[in-house]
């Protein structure tokens, strides 16, 4: 095994992070060299009994030197901050029309669901040159999905969705692993990120065992759990119509307005009293404990499909 599975820069973002890193290595190498050679030089030159010229420095000079290096350090550090941060800012924009893959972590495995419905364990197949967004949650403790070749990592939290997005530019098999200590088998909670050409990815998807896609499964759940009894437009019970809900601004009964993203939909299923839509009574029961994380993924996929497709995303607030 070579380091390729870890150190290849497999996206433009990764290349950019690497160049930031090497600039920082150069700057701090120079500073270390400066300090080390000053210390070594002084130690040699001013060793006890040497003939070096000694005596007091003028008070004024010492003060100027002090102010000088304080200001210089401050500016250097602020410059590095600005430079590193500005690199990061462009990476914050969530790509539009990304391929959305769901990841559910549990002690000690990664369960992955492709948008087409294909399931994987400890493997994520993605096409190259296409933005991919991972929507991740955990069933137990905090995990962290670490993709070293993308120079990315994100904690995976219970009770919440977190996201990672990247556009792979190199095909190959790369490492994927858990980076947040999660108990006994933390160190073997690892797997593979497989980046394929677009035709290969299409072939791979078609070769997967026949599975209904997520939204289809979600629609069945929507009926079997009884959601449709109230949320259907024809229902006699006064509940919001969910067509087109995903990505829309929803006014709430307490005056706030929220965007109906995954987190909102998830909370509305598990904690319906938290954000009640304006004009509706808080009569919906909580489904906490009666739906699993996998079922939530399907339900949300179904609700998204009511908005005309799973891939359109609002810009993330924050």
């Amino acid at each position: 095994m070579t380091t390729d599975r870890f150190m290849t820069a497999a996206s433009d973002y990764a290349t950019q992070v690497d160049s930031t890193f090497w600039v920082l290595v150069t700057i701090s190498g120079l500073i270390t060299l400066l300090v080390a050679s000053l210390i070594a030089g002084f130690c040699l030159h001013y060793r006890r009994g040497s003939n070096a010229r000694r005596g007091r420095l003028p008070e004024r000079l010492a003060y100027d030197v002090e102010i000088g290096w304080t200001v210089a350090t401050l500016f250097l550090f602020l410059f590095i901050f600005w430079w590193a941060a500005s690199n990061q800012l462009s990476a914050l924009d969530i790509p539009v029309n990304s391929l959305e893959i769901h990841v559910v972590a549990k002690q000690w495995m990664w369960r992955v669901q492709q948008p087409g419905g294909a399931r994987e364990i400890n493997e994520i197949h993605v096409p190259e040159n296409m933005p991919v967004r991972l929507a991740m949650t955990s069933e137990d403790v905090i995990h962290d999905l670490f993709l070293p070749t993308m120079r990315l990592k994100q904690d995976v939290l219970p009770g919440r969705y977190t996201y990672l997005w990247f556009t792979a530019t190199k095909t190959g098999v790369f490492h994927l692993t858990c980076a947040e200590y999660c108990g006994t088998d933390h160190s073997v909670m690892a797997g593979r990120l497989v980046v394929m050409t677009t035709p290969d990815y299409a072939r791979w998807t078609n070769a997967q065992p026949e599975a209904d896609d997520l939204a289809h499964d979600g629609e069945a759940l929507f009926r079997s759990l009884g959601c449709s009894g109230c949320h259907a437009p024809t229902s006699s019970i006064h509940a919001p119509d969910l067509h087109g809900i995903y990505g829309r601004a929803v006014p709430l009964s307490d005056g706030r307005v929220v965007t109906a993203d995954e987190a909102y939909l998830r909370d509305s299923i598990l904690l319906p009293a938290k954000d009640v839509a304006a004009g509706f009574a808080p009569i919906m029961p909580s489904y906490r404990g009666s739906v699993t994380e996998d079922e939530l993924v399907k339900l949300i996929a179904y609700l998204k499909s009511l908005s005309g497709g799973p891939t359109r995303l609002p810009p993330q607030a924050g």
Binding site: M1, T2, T3, R5, F6, Q16, V17, T20, F21, L24, S28, I31, T32, V35, A36, L38, I39, F42, C43, Y46, R47, R48, A52, R54, L57, E66, W69, T70, T73, F77, I80, A84, A85, N87, Q88, L92, V141, I142, F146, P148, R151, L152, K153, Q154, D155, L157, P158, G159, R160, T177, C178, A179, E180, Y181, G183, T184, D185, H186, S187, R288
Partner: protein, 558 residues
């Protein structure tokens, strides 16, 4: 310093030393003498240093091969958790304040004792009580949460003795708070006449600022651990997301203490080095006032950077930027201190006794530790490097390369004062150099493998990292030798060491103007101070003479 007055007081009438004030075990366990309490602490933390050291020795042995050698994953996880918990709370946090701080603070400001001698003794008993919980957790099977106790792993999933370990840390926190309150009161109330704030040695300033941090930050740790215990023992859902809690809340609380705790560990080290370097460079410290401002700035800004531990924890991007910015700012005063120590060497009369070697090692390793901190303060770099060995290497450069080197510098510097005897200079220099080399051999490879994607807290690891792990383990072996050596030559010195005299280094601090070891009351009568510290003028304070007799300096030059 009014050297003449003190010299009169100490050399002519030699009262019995504090060591002779009682020889029974009971006389030690009931003492309220700050110097004896310092010794009690020194013995306790040394014991825990070696327990924590044995734990990590087993870890490093296990990591020699990708598939492990002798341990199960559970045993491995318990060992690194134990190493972290013991080294942070039972060694590093109390290390310099509770030993050298206790011993020297009253001596350096010209006082007979700390402000609250009985509270001081109580703080040691709290330490022992907290340690008892930890030892209980250890012998009943250990704890498997890592030193960070992250929820919900610690509250709902871990199988180890989490409650006992958390209770131990909870209790030992009160020992820190007691020490902090005591030092603050001592610095305010008991300074000798003429010892104004800007005539205080920098070690005293370091003790003062670190006490502020201990008093303000430690209660937050107590609170967060109490909540962990409440959730684990009584099912109170604070952090459990499945029942409406928030697991990330714990991280905010924990790092609100634990980042300032990094400064609890490093500020005292800066204090020690600021005493040692001027003494062996025979030169007043460069930029005294700036050194003081830097200590205060670090203590204050240190409270505002905790979020940089959570760049990948689901924190909002805006918060990440703010914490990144503040983390760059807090690095500025640290950099200034490095420049000032370096400039202190300029135009000196430098000699290279063991304390100086450790102190110079500190400056070098702390510089690297600090600069790699800038890497981790940059969000995109941190996203890749966090939770890998890069972080491990970074904070060991600061806490071990920094704090432990400074602790050793201080131990060698003040050993003659504490015991009245000299140790083998040759062995001590050998140990200092070995520490520096062993340290770099251990932790430099960790930077490389960390950036290459080796996650921390991994029992099994991919084969590609084996070479780096083997290098690191060999380095750890060298480091272990360097840490055992002082135990031997210090032990030897206590029985066979040459008598030191009051001031073997011919240093200027007030603590050197009383006998070695000092009398129970420290000073016969409280000295008057009329100048700042570090008056290392070449004519008045030549380097220590070969025969190390007490050199009485006459007159005073500022």
């Amino acid at each position: 310093m009014t050297d003449t007055a003190i010299a009169d007081a100490t050399v002519e009438a030699q009262p019995a030393s504090y060591l002779a004030a009682g020889h029974t075990l009971l006389s030690w366990l009931t003492t309220t003498d700050h110097k004896r309490i310092a010794i009690l602490y020194a013995i306790s933390i040394t014991f825990f240093f070696f327990i924590g050291g044995i734990a990590i020795a087993l870890v490093r042995l296990e990591l020699m091969t990708p598939q492990g050698l002798i341990l199960t994953s559970d045993a491995y996880n318990r060992l690194f958790s134990l190493h972290g918990i013991i080294m942070v709370w039972f060694f590093l946090v109390p290390s310099i304040p509770a030993t050298m701080g206790n011993f020297l603070l009253p001596l350096m400001i010209g006082a007979h004792d700390v402000a609250f001698p009985r509270l001081n003794l109580l703080s040691w008993y709290l330490y022992v009580f907290g340690a008892a919980f930890t030892v209980y957790a250890l012998i009943s099977g250990g704890v498997d949460t890592g030193w960070t106790f992250y929820t919900p792993l610690s509250t709902n999933y871990a199988t180890g003795y989490v409650i006992a370990a958390a209770a131990g840390v909870f209790v030992v926190g009160f020992s820190s708070i007691a020490t902090g309150i005591n030092f603050i009161a001592t610095a305010h109330m008991l300074r000798a006449p003429g010892m104004t704030w800007f005539r205080l040695p920098l070690f005293v300033w370091a003790m003062y600022t670190v006490s502020m941090v201990m008093v303000l930050a430690t209660p937050v740790l107590a609170m967060s651990l109490l909540l962990v215990i409440a959730e684990r023992a009584f099912g109170l859902p604070i952090f459990d997301a499945a029942r409406g809690g928030d697991p990330v809340l714990f991280q905010h609380l924990f790092w609100f203490y634990s980042h300032p705790a990094v400064y609890i560990m490093i500020l005292p080290a800066m204090g020690v080095v600021s005493e040692v370097i001027p003494c062996f460079a025979r030169r007043t410290i460069f930029g005294y006032a700036f050194m003081v401002y830097a200590l205060i700035a670090i203590a204050v800004i240190g409270f505002m950077v905790w979020g940089h531990h959570m760049f990948v924890a689901g924190q909002s991007p805006l918060a990440n930027l703010v914490f990144s910015f503040l983390s760059f700012i807090v690095a500025v005063p640290s950099a200034i201190k490095v420049f000032n120590w370096t400039a202190t060497l300029h135009r000196g009369q430098i000699t290279f006794e063991a304390p100086m070697l450790y102190a110079l090692g500190f400056v070098g390793l702390f510089t690297i530790g600090g600069l790699t901190g800038l890497f981790l303060a940059s969000v995109p770099i941190d996203i890749h490097a966090t939770d890998t060995y890069f972080v491990i290497a970074h904070f060991h450069f600061v806490m071990v390369g920094g704090t432990v080197s400074a602790y050793m510098a201080g131990l060698h510097f003040w050993w003659p004062k504490v015991t009245g005897r000299m140790y083998s200079e040759a062995w001590a220099r050998f140990a200092a150099i070995t520490t520096f080399l062993g340290f770099n051999a251990t932790f430099m490879p960790q930077f490389v493998m960390g950036w290459n994607g080796m996650p921390r807290r991994y029992h099994y690891y991919p084969d590609v990292f084996q070479a780096w792990h083997v290098m690191s383990s060999v380095g750890a072996l060298i480091l272990a030798v360097a840490y055992v050596l002082p135990l031997i030559y210090f032990g030897w010195s206590m029985i066979y060491g040459r008598r030191a005299g009051a001031n073997p280094w011919n240093a200027t601090g007030l603590e050197w103007q009383t006998s070695s070891p000092p009398a129970k009351e420290n000073f016969d009568h409280i000295p008057r101070i009329d100048a700042g510290p570090y008056a290392y003028d070449e004519s008045d304070h030549p380097p220590a003479a070969g025969d190390r007799t007490l050199v009485r300096s006459q007159g005073e030059t500022a």
